[in-house]
Symmetry: C2
Subunit: 124 residues, 2 copies
């Protein structure tokens, strides 16, 4: 596994077998801030619900109004509006008022990228 030479009971000079303390210190140094982990988790949580994923996948195809989303997905208007609120609050979608309608779209290319990599993953 490791390409060390021949000595068997060497646990002092070999750099490869470093102590747990060393590992911990080294890895800790490369971590991001506590707050960033939370932000990231909040961001990914958005993708962890199939209703929201469906909405996102539709908006990746084209911009849509709320009622088209409802009808396409055959979902309750309240359900869709609620999820859109969550998506808005997290800056995942934006919308534009057109008369009494609201036309929604994705804010950001990252959203589509993440969706597609995830899809690639589950399709192996």
């Amino acid at each position: 596994m490791t390409n060390n030479n021949n000595q068997e009971n060497n646990e002092d000079v070999c750099e490869i077998f470093d102590s747990h303390e060393d590992v911990i210190e080294r890895v800790q140094k490369r971590m991001i801030e506590e707050d960033q982990y939370s932000q990231l988790a909040e961001f990914f949580k958005i993708f962890g619900n199939s209703t929201r994923l469906k909405i996102l996948s539709l908006l990746a195809i084209e911009d849509l109004c709320v009622c088209d989303i409802c009808d396409t997905l055959n979902l309750n208007q309240t359900t869709v509006s609620n999820q859109l609120r969550i998506l808005r609050a997290n800056n995942i979608v934006k919308y534009q008022k057109e008369g009494k309608m609201a036309r929604y779209s994705l804010t950001d290319l990252h959203i589509e990228m993440i969706y597609k990599i995830g899809l690639e993953h589950i399709l192996e």
Copy 2:
């Protein structure tokens, strides 16, 4: 907005203003399977918890045993083991027994990619 010519009250022949029915039908055709949305949501749900994200970010740096993960993150052993179980069940991490220790690693490059795109996103 749309590059149509000069007529003002044209609502019959112009292909650009299609009815809700047309939009719905067109978009529905490009959707993936119900089951795939669920699978995708399950997959992304994994990233939606900061403890799991922390573990994943450590394993993206180097392979680690459970106790090193606990010590690095200053977390309960049960908590870490539980999250590792979830990660294993979802094929996000794998492990290798080494004596009484278990060395964990990421299964797949997609994991690291998604983590990094997410990080890019929250850093604007």
